[in-house]
Symmetry: C2
Subunit: 466 residues, 2 copies
């Protein structure tokens, strides 16, 4: 056996590539069976379509179905269009049921109707039922590849039934115990069955208090339960408590990734989509719609910034130098506020903190931002000394005055922004909302406004103008 290293994936690709270049088709086909299907799928993904079809034809049907399941949707669709209906239907019948249903939904109505007659009754029903559930529910992500036994079986009878059924089932680590009308009674693990005395009845080892999902349950809640209870798979029940499918842990990882994207988009002021959309396949107009609401709303609120500057127009006319530091004031406030919000939102969502601790959190952010404010204020003072030394100032004012005023204002701005950035998500959570909706652009806009108020009131107060 070859030395294992970090780059096993690349190594596996190399094995396949070498065999393919040397024309050793038999060894290649053997490797297709030995290597993880994902590696085989990736290898084929890079090949011309007719070569892929050649390879598939030489494999047995079960392997075809597994490898096909690991292909990208793009390649799956290309093969659908290239293969004759019967050949495709055979592979389709061997695919994992959840991936199969996803592919089916990508076909046009006409293509679906064309395909259905070629499918076995079992596959046809399965694909139609799975496609009927909305994609964001447990039903929309579940698979029907699971193994069932009856409660009155002995452990050896149960194992025999699994041996008999399982070649078509991928997930047999949890065995679901049902009655004759498919109502779920509990579960046993394959481990329980293997460890048990062959004569033990399933009832004796039955877990009745299992964790399950309701078929219409939100997929995020499903993923969270799988994560919380460390499950390999979770049963999905309909309203009659009948077992209709299972959601596997890999599906949970997938959902966590998707929800992560949604949270990040929300935080950046992009409206989440109802369906999972890929960047390129989403139209520009749809992208536009997802971004425009926040962008225009915030630009509209920016009206307040304009009004404040308008109010202090005379100060600005006297000290045009103040205009020079307005952008820095706004940017630093926005950055500090967004940093604080990010940290608090993540800590809330990971359960590290609770909105009940708000006073401690705000106090902590005040301490942190005090240290930040000292650094930023010092920098600002030196910047003004360096950059504006020769600026014209009204009679009686020196650079020391102006530098002091601006540095002080920016220090206050840093602390205020951190408190606002940390406080807003806490308030939203308190009111029962999702803290991630306190988008970073919103915080930026708010601290722009507070920043200008701080800036001009500090200046007019200390410099004694209005």
């Amino acid at each position: 056996m070859k030395e294992k290293d970090d780059n096993q994936e690349i190594e596996n690709q190399d094995i396949l590539q070498d065999l393919s270049e040397q024309g050793k088709t038999d060894e290649l086909l053997e490797m297709f069976e030995e290597l993880p299907t994902m590696d085989v799928a990736e290898f084929m993904e890079e090949k011309p379509l007719d070569e892929v079809i050649e390879y598939l034809k030489k494999l047995d049907l079960e392997d075809q179905g597994r490898i096909f399941s690991d292909f990208s949707l793009d390649l799956q669709l290309k093969l659908f269009h290239s293969l004759d209906r019967r050949t495709f239907a055979n592979i389709f019948g061997q695919m994992f049921s959840d991936i199969r249903a996803d592919l089916y939904q990508e076909l046009t109505k006409e293509e679906q109707i064309e395909l259905l007659p070629y499918l076995s009754k079992k596959v046809r029903e399965d694909v139609i039922i799975l496609s009927a559930y909305p994609p964001e529910t447990a039903g929309g992500i579940m698979t029907t590849d699971f193994a069932t036994i009856f409660a009155d079986m002995t452990s050896s009878e149960a194992l025999a039934k699994i041996r008999n059924d399982a070649p078509s089932k991928d997930m047999i680590y949890y065995i679901y115990v049902i009655d004759h009308s498919m109502v779920m009674k509990g579960l046993v693990t394959l481990k329980d069955l293997v460890m048990a005395d062959p004569k033990t009845r399933v009832t004796e080892m039955l877990n009745e208090f299992f964790v399950s999902a309701e078929v219409n349950e939100d997929r995020e809640s499903v993923a969270q339960k799988i994560e919380k209870y460390d499950l390999v798979a979770m049963p999905v029940l309909n309203s009659l408590n009948q077992l209709v499918g299972i959601v596997s842990h890999e599906e949970a990882i997938d959902i966590i990734r998707k929800e992560e994207t949604e949270d990040m988009e929300k935080f950046m002021g992009i409206m989440p989509s109802e369906n999972d959309e890929e960047y390129m396949s989403t139209s520009s107009f749809h992208h536009f719609k997802k971004r425009v609401v926040w962008l225009v709303s915030l630009a509209a609120i920016g009206i307040i910034s304009g009004m404040i500057i308008n109010e202090y127009q005379s100060v600005l006319e006297h000290f045009i130098i103040l205009a020079m530091y307005m952008p820095m004031m706004a940017a630093t406030g926005g950055n500090t506020g967004s940093q604080a919000a990010t940290v608090v939102i993540r800590a809330l969502s990971l359960g590290e903190i609770d909105d009940k601790d708000w006073s401690k959190i705000v106090l902590k952010e005040m301490r942190i931002s005090f240290m930040l404010s000292v650094c930023v204020a010092l920098l600002t003072y030196f910047k003004i000394a360096f950059l504006s030394f020769h600026s014209l100032l009204p009679e009686g004012f020196t650079m020391v005055h102006i530098g002091g005023v601006i540095s002080l204002a920016i220090a206050i701005q840093v602390i205020t922004s951190a408190v606002i950035g940390a406080g807003l998500p806490l308030i939203v959570r308190r009111m029962g909302g999702d803290p991630a909706v306190v988008a970073s652009p919103a915080i930026t806009t708010i601290v722009d406004i507070t920043g200008l108020l701080i800036y001009f009131s500090t200046a007019s107060l200390i410099l004694g103008i209005s």
Copy 2:
């Protein structure tokens, strides 16, 4: 059996709560064994410490270890300090090995030395070895709870060995095949063994091309492999190819969550930490250090904004109204740029797009931002008409001029910002870096500068002043 619903977790808590309030201790203890340990752990988490100790004492040792493993680190440490060393050591010996090693590392050197003599040789060695690996490596997250067999066994001998070993092993869905010096030869699934004829030798069903991690491999790469290959667990090998541990799928989910936090922090200009730190337990000074570098650097770069305004001081003195719309110019640019960057970074990290497609992506962002720019420009024009109708203007200029200039400038700013926000992550990826380092604050600062340049050059060009 009770009706299943969405709130099964709450329901389970209610069952326990009711039994506890009614003082039905026997039924309660029975339920502790029936319900998922996570629910039991959560129930105890809310109880006073002495009550928790009472409950634990009444359970058998294996259940104690399982429930203890699901406690928060906080409660684990409290119990360490409350229980006598021998009682604690017994529970400790029954914990899951990875969680046990994590707890061990939280103890002080003195506490560790105090505890060690009470542990069995096996537990002692296990905990010391697991604690020796850095937390960000495969070794640092792996567990030693796995089942092994030898290649020359028959399937029934293998099952017998597993039956014999497994009560102490949690993960027996993958069975690892080793030689007598622990070198890993391959793996079989429990499914393979159960399905096989009892006389079949393990060699015949051995998967030799398994996916594995090297003990020093970065944990993120481990999680990605588990995700890619849909594994329930992945073996971890040392440099001699000896099997030293396994990383389970629940650990992979955990890592994905942590890396997600790191990415989001990076994107917000917060330096990632080397260890996993909780918000509250991290000192304010440490929080400060994580944020200050970006904040001060960006404030320093803000010097350029100041210089540009300085350059156009005379324009600003003539048209003080331009100052009023500077904050909106900066904010809208920052928001557009961050939105575009978020979308592109996510699409890159999910593999939806590739940096090779840069021209298509930039073109798409131009189309999207063109639509956004029309909306924002119209809004700006009406805003100026409404807000600045009575502003004083130099002779020969009307509000129509000024409104047109500012709206045009903001439209150009929106498009430029989107292109910069989408382009920077693509450039970083092209140069082989992590696109998430293109922090939103950095984009905001850059588009502040380009925005001011656009603003003043448009104004001076069209209004004919300099």
